[in-house]
């Protein structure tokens, strides 16, 4: 098992800064903007994006940040050990807002599907966008990200680890599994 670091702390910071600029550009400012991090690591990412947007737009920027837990909307609850939900924190009604969902890794798209279900129970946003730090491919739903930190084509046998200071104490993105030369041998690496 080999772990290779693909994003260092500085790369993550640059990606967050760029995504913040892209969000502000796409939204034409910070008005009616609600960043919702998906626990666990989407929450600190959303907070960083929010801080960055406030830096860009000035501290009177109206963008808001919160957390949206999707545990209770997952479609795989019955095939895993019981998952403990995380707090949902909604600073205001989502009606009419442009919601930006924020997560660390976009993979099958099932988490985002659950998040869309959760949002529809909370109200009717004007638009829903998706920002992720890493897009690793292998989608199982017709879902794509609007803002991507890094596209990381990967094998489904590999594992992407996102570590953020707020959640883990250190900060990097690494990819592990399937050492060089092992490529294409197929099953059994995890």
């Amino acid at each position: 098992m080999s772990a290779r670091i693909v994003l260092q702390a500085a790369d993550i910071t640059r990606a967050v800064t760029r995504i913040a600029h892209e969000i502000v550009e796409a939204n034409r400012g910070g008005d009616d903007l609600l960043l919702l991090g998906i626990p666990t690591r989407g929450v600190p990412l959303a907070q960083r994006l929010h801080a960055e947007i406030r830096r860009i737009e000035g501290s009177d920027a109206k963008a808001q940040v919160g957390a949206l837990d999707v545990t209770l909307y997952r479609d795989d609850l019955g095939s895993n050990p019981t998952r403990t939900p995380h707090p949902t924190n909604m600073p205001l009604s989502i009606d009419g807002m442009t919601v930006v969902l924020v997560d660390d890794v976009l993979y099958s798209g099932r988490t985002i599907r659950a998040a869309l279900d959760a949002l529809s129970d909370l109200g009717r946003p004007r638009a829903v966008r998706l920002a992720v730090l890493v897009d690793r491919g292998h989608r199982e739903f017709p879902i794509r990200a609007d803002f991507v930190g890094k596209n990381l084509p990967s094998s489904s046998k590999e594992r992407i680890n996102v570590r953020l200071t707020e959640a883990d104490g250190d900060e990097y993105v690494s990819i592990e599994g399937r050492a060089h030369g092992e490529a294409g041998t197929g099953d059994g690496s995890r």
């Binding site: 019955g78 895993n80 050990p81 998952r83 707090p87």
Partner: protein, 328 residues
């Protein structure tokens, strides 16, 4: 968590996890769409061998908010009244595909028997068995206390330093028993007050203070929580106290005692209340009374219990020692 039979089996981590999940469920209950898809396709049977309205509708509301299907089965007017045994009833429910059975039974230990029997593979929640336990009531009481103490910052906290005084028919009260185990696990100090005739004999194994005089107890340990129990006329086959007026005067929360309580003491009652007997109308309706909050919180706590019992994969074949498992 495979079954919820007794608060005595819950360790501190289990208890706090359950209360924290209940916090998440409580936020759902404040939304416009008060429904979650988490238990879609699961069937919850309310199997009630004793009359109960509030506990049954609370479980029913909880199951429905999690999108489970609910079947209500009460013993009166059913095959049980015709003499069917618990075993046959359980096997009937198993054949119908019940995923959880919420059982209330007049015999202490009936839920344990059902859970250990192998008659049915469903998760069993004890909704009150004889004079043994009523775990979801204790959990909702703990949840209510925690919310009054810590407000929005309740998540993850225990009840250390909280003095709880439980007054009334301790002898017959499953609510008191469940609360004793749960509240002490959570770090609270529990004092039980009752007439000597309504106190169990040999309490040495109970982690509590025992008092017979309410006024002396209130003076010696001013409570942060005063929990009044219902005088359960239906369980009193003998004469446990001379008359209700004497009980009310010595062990009831009347207006005079209410006035003497410390300012931030909260008053709890599991309901249904006998106003004028164990609790005065002024006490029941005062701002420090949590009676209505307890009902609201009951739904959240039962949602949490149903979720933790039913949402994860079921281990098959079941192991008798299976506990709540760590999550990812």
């Amino acid at each position: 968590m495979r079954h919820l039979l007794s608060t005595r089996d819950l360790d501190l981590a289990d208890a706090i996890r359950l209360l924290d999940v209940a916090e998440d469920m409580a936020t759902v209950s404040t939304r416009e769409v008060k429904k979650l898809p988490a238990l879609r396709g699961k069937t919850v049977v309310n199997l009630f061998f004793e009359n109960s309205t509030r506990t049954r509708i609370s479980f029913e509301a909880a199951a429905k908010r999690l999108s489970a299907d609910v079947i209500n089965f009460s013993a009166s007017g059913s095959s049980v009244a015709k003499g069917e045994s618990l075993k046959d009833t359980a096997q009937t429910l198993a054949a119908m595909g019940a995923d959880a059975v919420v059982l209330r039974h007049p015999s202490s230990g009936a839920p344990q028997s059902l859970a250990d029997s192998g008659w049915i593979d469903a998760g069993v929640i004890n909704a009150g068995d004889g004079t043994h336990e009523h775990p979801t009531q204790a959990l909702l009481d703990a949840f209510t206390i925690r919310r009054r103490m810590h407000g929005a910052a309740s998540r993850g906290t225990n009840l250390s330093g909280v003095a709880v005084t439980i007054v009334g028919d301790i002898l017959h009260s499953r609510v008191a028993r469940s609360n004793v185990w749960l509240l002490t696990t959570l770090g609270a100090q529990v004092t039980l007050v009752a007439p000597p005739t309504l106190m169990p004999v040999n309490m040495t194994a109970w982690p509590v203070e025992v008092e017979y005089d309410l006024d002396r107890s209130l003076l010696r340990t001013p409570p942060s929580v005063l929990m009044m129990l219902r005088v359960q006329a239906e369980r009193m086959s003998g004469d446990f106290f001379p008359n209700t007026r004497e009980y009310s005067r010595r062990w009831g929360l009347d207006d005079e005692r209410l006035g003497r309580l410390p300012e931030d003491t909260i008053v709890m009652h599991p309901g249904p209340m006998n106003r004028g007997l164990e609790i005065s109308a002024a006490a029941a309706d005062s701002a420090r009374s949590t009676v209505r909050e307890q009902v609201t919180n009951g739904v959240s706590v039962r949602m949490a219990a149903l979720y933790l019992l039913l949402a994860g994969e079921r281990l098959s074949p079941p192991t008798p020692t299976s506990r709540m498992r760590a999550t990812t």
